[in-house]
């Protein structure tokens, strides 16, 4: 390798980019907790194992929902499993989380959520009273979102083979708007918006485990986003490029997916990202970046430049988007990277999440 130090550094960085662009490969012999973190290891597992096995045009975009055509209708289809611990936490429980999560995966693909299924894996000894509490909260969440839980399944496993109660929901929604959304649709000049303060769900769960001896007045942000999405799409039809709910891996992971799939750079202002003081404080203490902490009722929205004002107004006019903020913009260079202008006035990149700072948050 020749040239000045800076040239040589550039050459190394280009080589790393080439390696990162290679086909994903799972190097581990066993599943580790990192495979479930929602970050880079999860993505590798999905691409190298699941996509490899099931490859088809509906799956390949790896969006939150698959889009399939049935007759003349376009349907969105999604599924998600919930293993959160503890099952009950401030602001929600595994039940409303399971409904809202699936409703949100359908909503951000632009679909109107219609029907849900619910599968339960129950551990021997799990209190029936708790199960009633979970199902009541699911029913309430479904009513709020305007969807029906129309089919289900129950399995019971021996004590010790599961942790109380796991829930899997699947959902179907109707794509009855002309909007075509996708992570690959971001273009230079677009604006990036988040719909509210980030990281509340993740930090709430972490504190609810009681292992940290930190107390904060925080509740999970779990909420159904279909109403907020409809308001946004009504206000700027054609202006919205993509939406994602920022669950595991947080806003940073979503932005990386967008930058990578669209071949663009996303430049974020740290100062503009809404984070409540309690979340910021807990993250400072624990050495975690709120950008990576999960939300269950917030989304990242990319809109074209001219629609930014209308989109922000529309989001802020809805009860779930009152604290929406423009946090960044899309540029052409450097493609595939998320850059952060820090509060301190410096710059750095924001990578995909590695490892597992928050086990079992959803």
């Amino acid at each position: 390798m020749t040239g000045t130090r800076e040239d040589r550094e550039e050459q190394v960085l280009e080589r790393i980019d080439r390696v990162r662009a290679r086909r994903a490969r799972v190097k581990e012999e066993h599943i580790t907790m990192a495979h479930g973190s929602g970050g880079k290891a999860t993505q590798t597992l999905i691409e190298a194992v699941f996509l490899d096995a099931f490859r088809n045009p509906a799956l390949e975009p790896l969006e939150d929902s698959a889009v399939v055509e049935v007759g003349t209708e376009r349907l969105a289809l999604t599924t998600d499993s919930y293993v959160v611990s503890p099952i009950f936490f401030p602001g929600g429980d595994i039940g409303d989380l399971a409904v809202n999560g699936t409703v949100n995966d359908l909503s951000v693909s632009g679909a109107r959520p219609l029907y849900l299924s619910a599968g339960f894996v129950l551990e021997e000894g799990f209190p029936v009273a708790d199960l009633r509490r979970v199902t009541a909260s699911m029913a309430r969440a479904a009513a709020t979102a305007g969807v029906g839980v129309v089919t289900g399944d129950t399995k019971v496993v021996q004590r010790g083979k599961a942790d109380g109660c796991y829930v899997t929901t699947a959902g179907v929604g109707l794509l009855d708007r002309p909007a075509r959304l996708g992570v690959a649709h971001a273009r230079p000049g677009d604006t990036v918006i988040v719909s509210g303060p980030i990281g509340e769900h993740g930090v709430t769960i972490m504190l609810a485990r009681g292992e940290l001896d930190i107390e904060a007045d925080l509740i999970s942000d779990t909420a159904p986003l279909n109403g907020l999405v409809a308001t946004l799409l009504d206000a700027c039809p054609g202006g919205v490029r993509c939406m994602r709910d920022a669950t595991r891996g947080g806003v940073a992971t979503i932005l990386n997916e967008i930058a990578r799939a669209s071949g663009v750079a996303v430049v974020v202002d740290e100062d503009a990202v809404p984070v409540r003081p309690a979340v910021r404080g807990a993250c400072e203490l624990l050495g975690i970046d709120p950008l990576y902490v999960a939300c269950e009722g917030r989304m990242v929205v990319v809109v074209d430049g001219p629609s930014a004002g209308a989109a922000l107004d529309a989001l802020r006019g809805h009860p779930l988007g009152g604290e929406a903020e423009i946090v960044g913009r899309v540029r052409d260079d450097p493609p595939g990277l998320v850059l952060l202008r820090t509060t301190f006035g410096g710059t750095r990149i924001v990578d995909m999440l590695v490892g597992d700072p928050l086990p079992r948050i959803c």
């Binding site: 940290l212 540029r331 952060l340 750095r348």
Partner: protein, 374 residues
């Protein structure tokens, strides 16, 4: 947020940056080592290098507790964790450190019971809850974490918790700095001294660096303005021809350190004759072990330890990175074979490791990033 925002003020940073530029002699280049991994993390996380002139290079030192653990010790810990009825506990960033036969995470995937804790006291709590199992705490870190480990041993002894022990890997910072000063391949102009370690050992132990080696050292806090101000103080010493120990972090670090914490360490632990440091090799009197008086809480006495030495993978250049001879990106495997997901070297594991910090935050041409964020 109080106690945070005032140390991240961009206006103050710009002002300091201008004064730093003024102090730099034209045509001279400066190399400062930040000893502590916490500083490395701050520098990258906040993009601090954007405020420095090109003539200043920051060299990332060995002060990352996880980064200096040799592979053999990881294997020993995994061996202990594999014994019947053993429950191993560890800080989170130790979980992914690779030994010769995989990491803690790999062991848990294969059935070992290794749990993450936030403090050794949490490990003691587990020991009280599970009296039928031997609960071992993987003790790592410099003088910063040694007092809490020692306190926990004292508490276990006082309460008669017989199923709690520590696998002691505590190291001391001064011998490592001395090894770097004596290393022929590196020329440094000064040190940004570790803040947290100094809360315990104080500033006096660094005086030989200024006196005998003629290098200035400024003990620094962990916010970006702390570090920027420390660089300013180093440059001012150089400009005035001084080499002294200064304390930028006086809001936390007392000049004499914390005698109580030091007493607790020396009650429970004693210096080992020598200890292996990843990348730096064997350094004499550079680590701590449990005193015989507390052998009942010393995993090295309770279990048979294989104690094998595992040579670092050939391709890995952690040693050169830890000594600051190589920048992370100059290592042959950086970012290609060695990444935070599949680290070969320890510098890529901990968020405080120089390689991980560079990979996660700085892995792009600063010029192009600056261009794009303008």
């Amino acid at each position: 947020m109080r106690f945070v925002d005032e140390y991240r003020d961009a206006d103050k940073a710009r002002a300091l940056s201008a004064r730093i530029a003024e102090l730099c002699e034209p045509g001279r280049s400066y190399k400062f080592m930040e000893v502590c991994g916490g500083h490395t993390h701050t520098i990258y996380k906040h993009g601090l290098e954007d405020y420095l002139p090109e003539s200043i290079t920051l060299v990332h030192g060995p002060g990352c507790p996880v980064c200096v653990i040799p592979m053999g010790r990881v294997d020993d810990a995994i061996h202990i964790a594999g014994q019947p009825d053993v429950l191993m506990t560890s800080f989170g960033d130790m979980m992914r450190v690779p030994g010769g036969r995989g990491s803690f995470f790999d062991s848990t995937a294969q059935g070992a019971d290794i749990r993450m804790v936030y403090s050794p006291l949490d490990a003691l709590k587990i020991a009280r809850r599970e009296p039928d199992r031997q609960v071992v705490f993987m003790a790592i870190g410099f003088e910063t974490t040694a007092p809490s480990t020692a306190m926990t041993v004292l508490r276990a002894a006082a309460e008669g918790v017989t199923n709690f022990s520590i696998f002691c890997n505590h190291v001391t910072i001064i011998p490592a700095i001395k090894a770097i000063l004596d290393s022929p391949d590196l020329r440094l102009d000064g040190f940004i001294g570790p803040g947290h370690v100094s809360t315990v050992i104080g500033c006096r132990p660094y005086e030989f660096i200024a006196r005998e080696y003629g290098k200035p050292l400024v003990v620094a806090g962990f916010e970006p303005l702390d570090i920027l101000q420390s660089i300013y103080l180093l440059l001012r010493q150089l400009a005035e021809g001084r080499s002294e120990v200064e304390n930028q972090y006086s809001r936390v670090v007392p000049w004499e350190g914390n005698p109580k914490a030091l007493r607790v360490i020396s009650e429970v632990m004693e210096l080992r004759p020598y200890f292996e440091w990843r990348g730096l090799g064997f350094i004499s009197h550079s680590a701590l072990r449990v005193r015989p008086k507390y052998a009942a809480h010393d995993a090295e006495q309770i279990f048979e330890i294989p104690g094998g030495r595992v040579a670092d993978p050939k391709a890995c250049q952690c040693g050169e990175v830890l000594k600051g001879v190589l920048k992370p990106w100059e290592c042959k495997v950086f970012g290609t074979a060695c990444t935070p997901e599949t680290p070969i070297g320890t510098c890529m594991v901990s968020s405080e490791g120089a390689c991980a910090a560079y990979y996660n935050f700085g892995r792009f041409s600063r010029k192009r990033v600056r261009e794009a964020t303008r």
